[in-house]
């Protein structure tokens, strides 16, 4: 414990002090030599960041690419075998299929619900309280939220007391209801998991979209109403076009979250019963099956899948900031 405290103290003092000392020293050096100062100074100031990025991002990335063309124990060169496996092995293909389901349904659910709540809450007096309630799940860690939902989805055999909230509730309100193993039955377990994601993601979508709704000029809406537009038309023709940049940001963010979803699946099903997604499979390939090569190849595929969305997300953010 004291050792950790010491590490923490050193980390919080030595690193900032070191960086400041470095900058002071480099400024001194810049002053002393007659060189192209603006360029040199820029590079000197950039250097700490570049070293950091190189050490924690670029080097691991290159190493991952290198390991992804090697076998399980990183010794034999296997070429593109690991990549081929991802797109041909039936169990890995089913992982991709499940992830695709996440990529479609999670953003759809989170953005639609977020949009509806943002627009409707804009019209009520208790907006602040309602918005606070809806954003609470966003503040819960994914692991804690998943543990909660595991308790909600708990299944007990028909005829025994139902401890799971959902089955107990349905059992009470629907006569003749047969309890469902929400997390185990592969007909609906992926939807049950995605719903948990939506529950946790809607808050953030609501916050961003609500701000965008507030930014729609009031005169525009009023003018439309005076011109005889009904509420649907006001939303469809006036508000929605104004919301497009914000919607793009929220959607791309949600798609990225869906591509790399891990915690919900890992905590709630451990990837069993056909719920494995790319990230959980990457984890189990490395740590359960000790196949470093395949794990690294999956990591690269994950990165490649997320990159275009990430670029779109950046573009959307810029446009939204400009709008």
């Amino acid at each position: 414990m004291s050792r950790q405290a010491l590490d923490l103290a050193l980390g919080t003092t030595i690193i900032p002090l070191g960086v400041v000392a470095y900058l002071v020293a480099s400024e001194g050096a810049v002053g002393r030599y007659r060189v192209d100062r603006p360029t040199l100074r820029a590079w000197l100031w950039l250097a700490p960041t570049l070293v950091l990025i190189g050490g924690v991002l670029v080097y691991p990335l290159l190493k991952t690419i290198y390991l992804s063309v090697k076998g399980p124990d990183s010794e034999k060169f296997v070429g593109t075998d690991n990549y081929k496996a991802i797109f041909t092995d039936p169990s890995l293909l089913s992982v991709l299929k499940v992830n695709l389901l996440w990529i479609v349904l999670f953003p759809l659910g989170a953005v639609l619900l977020g949009l509806v709540t943002a627009v409707l809450l804009d019209r009520v007096r208790y907006e602040r309280i309602a918005k606070a309630i809806i954003t609470v799940p966003t503040a819960i860690s994914f692991v804690a939220g998943s543990v909660m939902w595991r308790l909600i989805y708990t299944y007990n055999a028909p005829g025994t007391p139902q401890i799971g909230t959902l089955n107990a509730f349905l059992n009470t309100v629907l006569p003749g209801f047969v309890p469902k193993a929400w997390l185990i039955d592969s007909r609906f377990n992926n939807y049950a998991l995605i719903f948990v994601g939506v529950w946790m993601g809607t808050g953030l979508a609501t916050l961003i979209l609500s701000a965008a709704v507030k930014a729609v000029p009031k005169e525009l809406v009023e003018a439309a109403r005076i011109d005889g537009a009904n509420e649907w038309h006001v939303f469809r023709r006036v508000m929605l076009p104004e919301l497009v940049p914000a919607l793009a940001v929220v959607t791309t963010t949600a798609v990225i979250a869906a591509i790399k979803v891990f915690d919900i699946v890992y905590v709630m099903t451990g990837g069993n019963y056909n719920t494995d997604v790319i990230a959980t499979r990457m984890y189990s390939e490395q740590f359960a099956y000790q196949n470093t090569g395949l794990a690294c190849a999956i990591a690269i595929v994950l990165l490649l899948a997320a990159t275009p969305v990430l670029l779109a997300n950046r573009g959307a953010m810029r446009r939204e900031a400009a709008a």
């Binding site: 543990v147 909660m148 299944y155 069993n272 019963y273 359960a288």
Partner: protein, 474 residues
């Protein structure tokens, strides 16, 4: 799930209880039995949380034993010790190591990790191995010994005493080319079936055929006999694999055939292995035989699996589980006391294999030849240290010189008497097959068995898949 009943869980009104439940659930996931780590009870951290109070007489006896090792010298310094035992069980281990520190002045720097195997390998590769390891991976130790990474313990421990006090089969597992490289200091006994002594009306020491007759008759009356829950986070499936499938296989085909299976010489698609899977499937997918059928088996956490035996009326009567369950029940299952708990050894199938006693556990092995490491390796083999471990109530220890009276509860005394002190059981001690598969095979075993219980029709595919994992990990 009844985690909130664990003693020591904070009781601060509803919010406190909900929080405790959530925390306990996360703990259960975290503790969830890293494949093959076995070792001490995976639930020890939840079942008890009080620091063990050890008898002063035993503590001073242990100090004396430690002083004898260093010839009364306070050698000082430290020893790096890497293990997997953590939580309350880890505290108990440290409490039993305390007399060694007092007597020799050596500080034990104990580090527990669930990914011991990879961390040990990484540290060896980096030229920075720990002094000692408390390993759950007997296969890894044998490989390390063959590669010359371990220091032989002959001349470090008192070999005469060790040979006399520890079961030969367990010592053989740590012996390479006639030299001892590791000995088991903690063992976890498997292949036991638990019941509620006040409610279970079936045969008490049945053969498999007798038990099958009873469970069938019970099914005909609409009462499922078996309890089972295999949910355990990322390692879901291990209870059905370790406590039932392994046991069935060994009871029918014996240790020699099991060794072939472990070494990849007997394919998973062989009739023998397939029979074991089908036998597991026949019980755990049939709601007449197991409470709730396959869906309940899959969704019930292993800690809660046997709760139905202690409800009124019971919803099930028999639970296959390892020895830790006996001390877990009175501590954590609502309405159950130590007097309710009964058990029998996994029923016999082929008579000559009925005594094969399956265990896993933690082996002490040495990686650096330093005086402090030698002293600790010697200390941990003494009956005085093993007695302290027994007195913590957290472990069963294989040292025959430990009096069974050292165990704090009747059930652990009974287990020790039957499993540890009996010569017949000692001679028939073998490691649980799941511990001796390569790690990827064990993990795939748990996963495929879990899937199989949901899709029994796919058995051949799952077994073929196992064979391909064996091939790629050999």
């Amino acid at each position: 799930m009844r985690f909130q009943n664990a003693p020591g869980a904070p009781r601060r009104g509803r919010a406190g209880r909900v929080l405790a439940t959530a925390v306990a659930a996360v703990l259960a996931i975290a503790a969830g039995y890293d494949a093959g780590t076995g070792g001490a009870s995976p639930v020890a951290g939840i079942a008890r949380s009080d620091q063990p109070e050890l008898p002063a007489a035993s503590l001073s006896a242990a100090e004396k034993a430690a002083r004898a090792i260093t010839h009364g010298k306070k050698i000082g310094g430290g020893v790096d010790f890497l293990g997997v035992v953590t939580g309350t069980a880890g505290d108990a281990l440290l409490a039993a190591l305390k007399p060694f520190e007092t007597a020799t002045g050596v500080k034990v720097n104990y580090e527990a990790t669930f990914s011991q195997q990879s961390i040990l390998q990484t540290r060896i590769d980096a030229g920075n191995p720990p002094d000692l390891v408390f390993s759950s991976y007997p296969l890894q130790l044998v490989q390390l010994a063959k590669a010359g990474k371990l220091i032989p313990l002959n001349g470090v421990v008192n070999m005469d005493a060790v040979r006399k006090q520890y079961p030969k089969p367990l010592l053989d597992l740590g012996t390479v080319k006639g030299k001892l490289y590791g000995y088991f200091s903690i063992v976890n006994y498997h292949a036991l079936v638990w019941y509620n002594a006040n409610k279970y009306g079936g045969p008490r020491h049945p053969t498999w055929a007798q038990l099958a007759r009873w469970t069938k008759a019970s099914a005909a009356q609409g009462k499922p006999s078996w309890c089972m829950g295999i949910e355990s986070g990322a390692t879901t499936g291990w209870p059905a694999a370790n406590e039932v499938l392994d046991a069935l296989f060994v009871r029918r085909y014996g240790p020699a055939m099991a060794a072939k299976w472990e070494q990849g010489k007997l394919p998973w698609s062989s009739p023998q292995v397939k029979w074991a899977w089908q036998s597991v499937g026949a019980i755990f997918t049939d709601p007449k035989l197991v409470t709730g059928g396959a869906a309940a088996v899959a969704s019930t956490n292993f800690l809660a699996a046997g709760n139905g035996m202690f409800t009124s009326p019971p919803t099930c009567y028999l639970l296959p589980q390892a020895q830790w369950y006996g001390s877990y029940v009175p501590a954590a299952v609502q309405g159950a006391t130590a007097a309710d708990v009964g058990y029998f050894a996994f029923p016999s199938i082929t008579p000559k294999y009925r005594n094969a006693q399956m265990v896993d556990g933690n082996q002490v092995a040495m990686l650096r030849n330093r005086p402090q490491a030698r002293a600790l390796a010697a200390y941990m083999s003494t009956p005085q240290f093993e007695t302290l471990l027994a007195q913590t109530g957290q472990f069963l220890v294989p040292n025959a010189a430990v009096p069974t009276g050292a165990y704090p509860t009747p059930i652990s005394r009974a287990l020790a008497k039957e499993l540890v002190a009996s010569k017949a059981t000692q001679a028939a001690t073998i490691l649980l097959p799941s511990v001796l598969f390569p790690v990827p095979v064990t993990n795939q075993f748990f996963k495929n068995l879990t899937s199989y219980l949901q899709n029994p029709g796919q058995l051949d595919n799952y077994l073929r898949d196992m064979d391909s994992v064996v091939k790629s990990s050999s």
